[in-house]
Amino acid sequence: MKRIVPVLVVVACIFALWYAGSFLMNRAWVMDQAARAGTEPGFSEVLRDTMNQDRAKLPAPHQVAAELYDGILDKKVTSKRSLVYHGFITFQATMAGFALGIVAGVALAVAIVLSRVADRTLMPWAIISQTIPVVALAPMIVVLTNAMGAGSLMVPKAIIAGYLSFFPVLVSMVAGLRSPDRMQLDLLRTYGASPRQVFWKLRMPASLPYFFASLKIAVAASLVGAIVGELPTGAIAGLGARMLIGSQFGNPMIMWSALFAAAILAAGLIWIVGGIEKLANRMMGGQRA
């Protein structure tokens, strides 16, 4: 209960601000309409009319909620207007990219920790890769994968998602694999352990908490990557495509509902990854606060 109250207070504040914003931003249109009709609306009429516009500049929360409900629960999931349909497409690309990011991140981290040469050569490139705006890269990746015969947008989207999600995994895994201190390494040396044994018995298990901590960031980055991959690439399905359509057709409701669908998806993914992290923690002896 104590933890819920502050959360509710914040949510209430956001709603209050949002409603206030809706009123202020949508009022101009109401006043316009009234001026044309030659009427002088009272405050309550203005308030009512700002809250229920079809093409509001800033739709009110209850409108977005209704649109979300409609998009998620009222439409058949196979419908092109269902948010579940679009969400699933984005989800697939996110998961593929997430898997790609994990594999690439872990593989690079292992190479960097085991080889001095890799450390010197790969790490700077990994950092540079994250400074290039992904929006600029996305169309190029689409063109290239198409030229190589990918056939669908799933492959480039997964690559873009992986491109964003490998980095947090890489950075955490390098830190994790290097976390054993001098004493622990000396101990294994006194046992005459081989480098392979040092890696599997000490470095790998020591890095796991770092790995799981990085997954939460990586999955969120992967979702962002998948959505960004849908924006400038002419995609017609996926939450990113939905947002673009909403903006092109001047229908903010579509944008807002797609945005919230993406937020719900992100929350779900992070919740699941957090659960996996807890489970892994318990299996590894638990109780490390």
Binding site: L188, R189, Y191, M284, G285
Partner: protein, 259 residues
């Protein structure tokens, strides 16, 4: 007289640092016989830990010779001649106590049945029977250090090298562990090299006390203890004990007069 287990002659180790060379050890010569309990005592920087690490092939002397079981420290390390106990227990948090003790056995390739038998035996030896399935965080600091001693004993090395193993523990726990360590030593007949900075600990435990001093790290006195091998804690109030302690203290003082 049999061959010494550890024999160092004119051992020197110089670290090159930005501020010029540091003489961690200078012309150190010492023989440790089988079954000895040797303590190294001295202020920090006197090279006692460095000396121990040279025995363990964790540091490489720049001059002089050292043999362990008649061979080089490297050969001795590869033959698993010694168990090393560090200042911190250093148990893996993701392994149970049993799993931690099994670690060296896994690395050295003991078969599963033998591993289990050994884990059980050494846990009894350090009085931790029944804690095999517990995780390190569930044990007190003293118990963790006992588990780390069990880990060093698991593979039957004849030599035990201990680097201030009880340094981080409080006095009461330390007394108790000292008593247990003596019992363990009597039971297993190991040769023990033990680094400490506590005078009572050194005198209580050792058959031989090596007093060292810093800059450069060297041996200033070697005291063969006349105390019997059987030592109740009360022995620390006897005149013999206090006399040795006094001599250690004098040795430490003499070392300091050089700065």
């Amino acid at each position: 007289m049999t061959e010494p287990v550890i024999s160092a002659s004119d051992l020197s180790l110089t670290f090159q640092t930005g501020d010029g060379p540091v003489h961690a050890l200078k012309d150190v010569s010492l023989d440790i016989a089988k079954g000895d309990f040797v303590s190294f005592i001295g202020p920090s920087g006197c090279g006692k830990t460095t000396f121990l690490r040279c025995m363990a092939d964790l540091e490489h002397p720049t001059a002089g010779t050292i043999t362990v079981n008649g061979v080089t420290p490297e050969a001795a390390r590869k033959a698993r001649a010694y168990g090393y106990v560090f200042q911190a227990a250093g148990l893996y948090p993701w392994r149970t106590i049993g799993g931690n003790i099994r670690l060296p056995l896994e690395i050295m390739g003991y078969d599963k049945a033998d591993q289990s038998a050994r884990v059980k035996r050494v846990l009894e030896l350090v009085d931790l029977a029944g804690f095999e399935k517990k995780y390190p965080w569930q044990l007190s600091g003293g118990m963790q250090q006992r588990a780390s001693i069990a880990r060093a004993l698991a593979f039957d090395a004849d030599i035990l090298l201990m680097d201030e193993p009880f340094g981080a523990l409080d006095e009461i726990v330390r007394d108790h562990l000292n008593e247990q360590l003596l019992a363990l030593w009597a039971k297993t007949e190991k040769t023990i090299a033990f680094v400490t900075h506590s005078i009572p600990e050194a005198v209580y435990l050792s058959t031989k006390i090596v007093v060292m001093s810093p800059r450069p790290g060297r041996i200033t006195d070697v005291i063969d203890s006349p105390l019997p091998r059987e030592r109740p804690l009360e022995i620390r109030d006897t005149p013999e004990f206090l006399e040795i302690a006094h001599r250690v203290r004098e040795g430490l003082k003499a070392g300091h007069s050089y700065d």
